[in-house]
Symmetry: C2
Subunit: 205 residues, 2 copies
């Protein structure tokens, strides 16, 4: 039997409104940063009045925190998927491609994190040096094993990971700049093959 929960099930309306708020907040926070976003703006975009929005989340901070922690997993999933048992180069290329695809399909999420990081990550610093560091340590060790086995070329494993982040997220985070330079050309059209080549040549044993 179900132990009676202190917290009740979320109602249909709660589910709908919470989702609408997070969606709107993602738009606004990713476009203007935490400080640049206003509660009114988020409320308007979610189709709610400000007091109504604050009925669902206790504060602006809370919305932001909910967004970040809710998205962090999604964000790191591709790295988690790096599989010890796969072919090293193909595993890494798959990771790169997934990350680039995320830049294309989830640019708001990327910019949300970029905004936070570029300003010193005041609200997620702890998560970075615990969860993120642990995951990267683990995967860097895997990369190092592959290098020891001569299955990919030897490079600094941490900087290899950083390079994948920077090369792929660049297209989401600095989208305006990329488009200003490229004009009409679709950035991802050329980026995919380019980055692919980078890692094929870099990691060829």
């Amino acid at each position: 039997m179900k132990p009676k929960a202190k917290e009740r099930m979320p109602t249909r309306i709660q589910k709908k409104n919470r989702a609408a708020i997070l969606e709107a907040a993602l738009n606004v926070f990713s476009a203007h940063g935490f400080r640049g976003a206003t509660v009114d703006q988020i409320a308007a975009e979610a189709g709610l009045s400000k007091p109504n929005l604050l009925y669902y989340f206790p504060s602006k901070e809370a919305i932001h925190a909910a967004l970040l922690s809710g998205l962090l997993d999604t964000w790191l999933d591709p790295l988690r998927a790096l599989d010890e048992n796969g072919d090293p180069l193909e595993e890494i290329l798959a990771y790169v491609r997934r990350k680039l695809q995320m830049s294309k399909e989830l640019p708001r999420e990327s910019r949300l994190f970029a905004n936070e990081l570029v300003q010193g990550a005041p609200r997620i610093h702890d998560t970075l040096s615990s969860d993120l560091k642990a995951l990267v340590d683990e995967k860097a060790a895997l990369l190092e094993r592959w290098m020891d086995q001569g299955r990919i070329a030897r490079v600094h494993p941490y900087h290899l990971i950083f390079s994948i982040w920077s090369l792929t997220q660049h297209y989401a985070d600095f989208d305006v700049q990329v488009r200003a330079v490229l004009g009409d050309e679709d950035p991802f059209e050329g980026a995919g093959p380019f980055i692919d080549t980078v890692y094929r040549k870099l990691l060829a044993p």
Copy 2:
């Protein structure tokens, strides 16, 4: 004889205070973004009262604009220095090294631009699609010529330039993340050789 200028020479005090304000503004804007920075904060950091600061610059916007336009040249100088007459690979590697050094020595400047770009560059969009685009077009054409001559491997020249920007500026813009993962290790220690290797392997004809 000197034509009498409508505008007088800046006094000693003007020079000192303008410089102090821009220095303080660079600190504050790069750490908090335009919206997150307050005039009081900048004034305090510059050792002036708010009204006094606004005696030297007419508005917060004006300080930000002065900073950006003053720094844009510095920022693009390394790319401008890419020399048609040098050895292609060495020229590109020199560009990469200069950019990485700038990330190390001028991280505030890098983050100032990063903050602006990640939020859609509302205040420098025009400069990007005119000046920046023109410069990149010119240098991309040079890279293409080098490729035509078989002096470096053929890759998408624009994405080659983007990759240099992203790989190097990553270490300034996302400094907290890099340090959270690396712990005590100096990021630039490993980044230099790593990025060097990337471009040597990528561009070997």
